[in-house]
């Protein structure tokens, strides 16, 4: 076997000898060397031919030849610099962006639960314990006496632990930093099964009365309040004036049992120190559930058994300690309805809507990869087509097809490796950019820390393999399929078999890029509409605070009304507060607003639908900035004794009656509760139509909203809302007014309206920006690719065009033909992309209930125009050249 270096040296020696002779004939040395090279012909081609002719044997031969293929491929790629650069960049971007998206999702929605063996962990639930209107399962539903009885009796779990309802925040640091304190039982961390980052967790000894007060802090608290210091263990933090010594720091991902929502800075204290918790006074009561109960199953036990045992025990407790009905609600006995669910499925259910959004995001990322891949495929087919005559020639000279495929693959492999390396570099940059603490409300923080772990690497590698298959293997097999018989007689430069595939690839690429933009524009639209703040509610000057009247027997309906009036009077008298009103929540952001089943005796065709019923005081609409479009607002004459009235949101009016001209129509509402007793239907007369607002969550207008007077409903909670120049001062005024009117009751969710009700803005802005970057990248990639490929396609058709000119076509006709040729696949791609994109867009908007128009004219007009402009630009230059071809020259050359 000739070593490649020998071959090189031998050819060089030949050239030198020939140049010597030519020099003797009188040429200068330089001229002689040049002449020698010319006579010899393409050096590399000959070397390839020599290599092809070699027959290799032996076990080492495969590796030797593979190494040689790689070396050769490197040399070839170095010669095709532009192709190589563009391919590597395409691949790097195509891999890095979807991978970042994936890592982002893994760091947020798809994060592994921060508990040990989640499948063995069970979480107990109860149904319908609370009057939130929600019939869903309730986790923080267990009272301490009930739990103690259960722990003594159960035998399907190896360990049981509980934590208090994580509501409310306490000041911790000197700079007003705060955290949510959670009381946990002594075995809580043992049941969760994680190890501390620093120090130790709470042990059963810490949970005895008289034990020194200790505290475990979350990673976030350790970082922000304790300065991420290793000496933090043993330092003292004060909660409500009481000193707690820090004994441990929880690991990075753990911020309490995570049921799919954002997390907050947290501290954990033993239940023995529970008197510092906001709901401490409820802890001893059997009829108030404030604990979340969790357990580890004994080996071999299953959730069904644990659940059955809990249900049976709950029934037993119901007999022994029946729970009283909450006042103001229909009479009937309340059952505990205990059940157990495995942690994993509860968490998945909590992720719910976010999971759907995450698939959309992942798909958008995937489309970028598709665009990049089709770009690469286009490029490699274009390049391969140019090389095809050479490949055919070499096959004829004895190179096997496998050999040529391998050689082409070696090039692809090098590009893939370079692309992977470049994408890892790019990933590092993107990851740094993506590592942020996003505030999602004044309490909750979404700590995003994308990590290049094995999952993410595997994803990136998978993307590269996919790309390699698409741009490497398939074109290589295609290109080497052609035999010498089909290619040589036609000569190089005729219409090549690659053109049809090119058109298909262009179509795919344009379709993917356009569909991607159409889908991505949803998130852009969404975040723009959110930041424009058209929630329907004028949030800027609002402050809110909610009071839950617990324990409930202390507050009869009249007491609640009285307390509400007292607080409102205090607030209205406060300097800086212009208006103060009360309601059972807000149209969005606060979930206490109850659900009702809404129907209309006037319009039987309208199917009973779930709607939000928001009860409010007369001035509420003006306070929150919702216009009354028709009819009137509530007045002081709408009382518990007067005829029931309602104000429909414009959307609800249209949904029910097909117009907003609905004053005087009747509607019927039936409260939705988890109880067995069906509550009565209340028939109300519509007296007004209010402007539309977001409903339930920010940016969503999917649900219907019915307003009713606060005096005509009865709910054990009330949200105070004020309008004034300084919402922060107003918030503290709410706190003080409540404390004065209702000693012992702490308002929750107190703060400025923007922070409390529209916290999702930064998150959606980030997601919107991310998808916009993805969309624009795809657009850019596909436009560059489009330009290159169209120009190439027309250049290979030169001969055919020349023939047309020879047969009498005018240059104008040829120019048009060329332009049309370029536009055809682009228009095809745009049509496909539009159909797919619009379909997905409408589906996504529907599924997520976003307040975004289904059709976006800008997107549907501007982006296709941009594509067409690039297509025309790409076709124009070759088209002009084509229209000026001199047939005699072109046909002779061919």
């Amino acid at each position: 076997v000739i070593h490649p270096d020998d071959l090189d040296a031998e050819v060089r020696s030949h050239l030198a000898h020939r140049a010597d002779d030519l020099e003797r004939e009188g040429l200068s040395r330089t001229a002689a060397e040049r002449q020698a090279r010319l006579e010899f012909g393409g050096l590399e081609k000959h070397k390839d031919a020599v290599r092809d002719a070699e027959v290799r044997r032996g076990p080492g031969a495969w590796f030797t030849s593979m190494g040689r293929d790689l070396a050769l491929a490197t040399r070839r790629l170095r010669r095709a610099r532009l192709f190589t650069m563009f391919s590597v960049v395409s691949l790097a971007v195509g891999v890095a962006l979807p991978t970042t998206m994936y890592a982002f999702l893994r760091a947020t929605i798809w994060a592994d639960p921060a508990v040990d063996r989640p499948a063995e962990l069970v979480v107990f639930t109860a149904r319908g314990r609370y009057v939130t209107g929600s019939a869903s399962e309730w986790r923080s539903a267990f009272s301490l006496p009930d739990v103690r009885d259960y722990v003594a009796a159960q035998n399907s779990l190896s360990a049981v632990a509980w934590q208090s309802w994580n509501n409310g925040i306490v000041a911790l640091g000197q700079d007003g930093q705060s955290a949510t304190p959670i009381g946990v039982s002594g075995r809580f961390f043992e049941v969760v099964g994680i190890s501390p980052l620093l120090g130790r967790f709470i042990h059963p000894e810490d949970d005895r009365s008289g034990a020194p007060p200790v505290m475990v802090v979350s990673y976030h608290v350790w970082r922000t309040i304790l300065g991420a210091s290793r000496d933090a263990i043993g330092s003292v933090l004060h909660v409500k004036g009481e000193p707690f010594s820090v004994i441990g720091v929880a690991p990075v991902g753990f911020s309490g049992l995570d049921f799919g929502g954002p997390t907050r800075p947290m501290v954990w204290v033993p239940m023995s120190s529970a008197h510092v918790l906001s709901n401490a006074e409820s802890l001893g009561r059997r009829d108030v559930g404030v604990l979340t109960l969790i357990g580890r199953m004994v080996p071999g036990a299953d959730v069904a058994r644990a659940s059955a045992e809990a249900a049976a025990f709950g029934t037993e407790l119901d007999r022994e300690f029946p729970l009283r009905e909450l006042s103001g609600q229909p009479q009937g006995s309340m059952a505990r309805s205990w059940a157990a669910t495995d942690y994993q499925s509860l968490r998945n259910a909590g992720i719910g809507r976010a999971a759907y959004a995450s698939y959309v995001l992942l798909a958008i990322g995937g489309l970028v990869l598709v665009v990049a891949c089709s770009n690469l495929a286009n490029l490699s087919v274009a390049r391969g087509t140019i090389r095809q005559p050479e490949l055919v020639m070499r096959r004829a000279l004895g190179a096997t097809r496998g050999r040529l495929v391998r050689e082409l693959l070696a090039e692809s492999a090098i590009i893939a490796l370079a692309g992977l390396a470049a994408s890892v570099l790019l990933l590092r940059v993107l990851f740094v950019l993506c590592t942020i603490d996003l505030p999602v409300s004044n309490q909750n923080i979404l700590s995003i820390v994308p990590v290049l772990d094995r999952h993410v690497l595997a994803y990136a590698a998978g993307a590269v393999v996919l790309a390699l298959l698409m741009f490497g293997v398939e074109p290589a097999v295609q290109l080497t399929r052609t035999s010498i018989g089909t290619i040589l007689p036609r000569g190089a430069g005729t219409l090549l078999p690659g053109t049809r595939r090119h058109r298909m690839l262009i179509r795919l690429q344009v379709a993917a890029a356009f569909a991607l933009l159409v889908i991505a524009s949803v998130t852009v639209h969404y975040s723009v509409s959110l930041s424009k703040d058209d929630s329907g509610v004028d949030l800027d000057q609002l402050a809110v605070g909610t009071v839950v009247f617990l324990p409930h027997e202390q507050f009869a309906a009249t007491d609640r009304a009285q307390a509400t009036e007292t607080v409102l009077a205090t607030l209205r008298a406060t300097l800086g507060i212009e208006r103060a009103d009360a309601a059972t929540g807000m149209p969005f952001g606060l979930t206490v607003t109850p659900l009702v089943q809404l129907s209309s005796p006037d319009r039987p065709a309208f199917r009973e639908t779930t709607a939000f019923e928001l009860s409010s005081t007369p001035g509420y609409f003006e306070t929150v900035g919702v216009a009354i479009q028709r009819g009137r607002a509530f007045t002081a004459h709408d009382t518990a004794e007067s005829a029931p009235v309602a104000i429909l949101s414009a959307a609800a009016a249209r949904a029910m009656f097909g117009s907003v001209d609905v004053i005087g129509r009747t509607i019927a509402t039936r409260p939705l509760t988890g109880r067995t007793v069906t509550p009565p239907v209340i028939t109300r007369t519509v007296v007004g139509v209010a402007g539309d607002t977001d409903v339930q969550s920010r940016g969503s207008r999917r649900s219907l909203l019915v307003h009713v007077p606060l005096t005509q409903t009865s709910a054990p909670f009330v949200t105070f809302v004020t309008r004034g120049r300084d919402p922060l001062i107003a918030a503290s005024a709410i706190r003080m007014a409540v404390a004065r009117a209702l000693p012992g009751v702490a308002p929750s969710g107190v703060g400025p309206g923007v922070a409390m009700l529209a916290p999702a803005v930064p998150v959606t802005r980030v997601v919107g920006a991310a998808t916009l970057v993805l969309g624009l990248t795809a657009l850019g990639l596909s436009m560059i690719g489009l330009h290159g490929v169209l120009a190439y396609l027309l250049s290979v058709r030169r001969r055919e065009l020349a023939l047309r000119v020879a047969l009498g076509a005018t240059s104008r006709q040829v120019w048009w033909l060329s332009i049309r040729e370029g536009l055809r696949p682009v228009i095809g791609g745009l049509t496909i992309g539009l159909l797919i994109g619009t379909f997905v867009r409408i589906t996504v908007i529907g599924r997520l209930g976003l307040a975004v128009p289904a059709l976006d004219l800008v997107m549907f007009l501007v982006v296709p125009m941009a594509f067409l402009a690039v297509a025309i630009a790409a076709s124009a230059a070759p088209a002009r050249r084509a229209s000026r071809v001199d047939p005699s020259v072109v046909l002779r050359d061919a």
Partner: protein, 114 residues
């Protein structure tokens, strides 16, 4: 290609190379020159095709090669005929002569001879 009067008949390149090397060991460029000399410039060998052929013969064991220094004082790879190469050359010369005699006789045949 066939229009070029100096083009080589297919299959004859190996024969010419073996013959050129049999006269005395020489390097690739030398083989080229020797063939031109031997054919009086009547046959042209495309320079690039020479090396694939040389290496093929080397692999088949008909030639051996080693690096040496040429008359121009340059490093060059010298080819030498092996014993199998020598017998292959003899066979090929015999074959060629038989074929060429046959073709010559066929071409000189007149209608009256048949």
């Amino acid at each position: 290609m066939l229009d070029d009067p100096r083009a080589l008949l297919p299959g004859t390149l190996d024969l010419l190379i073996l013959k050129a090397v049999s006269v005395g060991h020489t390097h690739g460029y030398g083989v080229l020159l020797r063939i031109q000399q031997m054919t009086g410039g009547a046959l042209a060998i495309e320079q690039g095709t020479l090396y694939p052929a040389l290496h093929k013969l080397e692999r088949e064991g008909l030639l051996t090669a080693e690096w040496g220094v040429s008359e121009n004082n340059r490093r060059a790879r010298f080819y030498r005929l092996t014993t199998p190469g020598r017998s292959r050359l003899r066979e090929q010369i015999a074959d060629w002569q038989r074929v060429s005699r046959a073709i010559a006789s066929a071409l000189s045949t007149k209608a009256s001879d048949l």
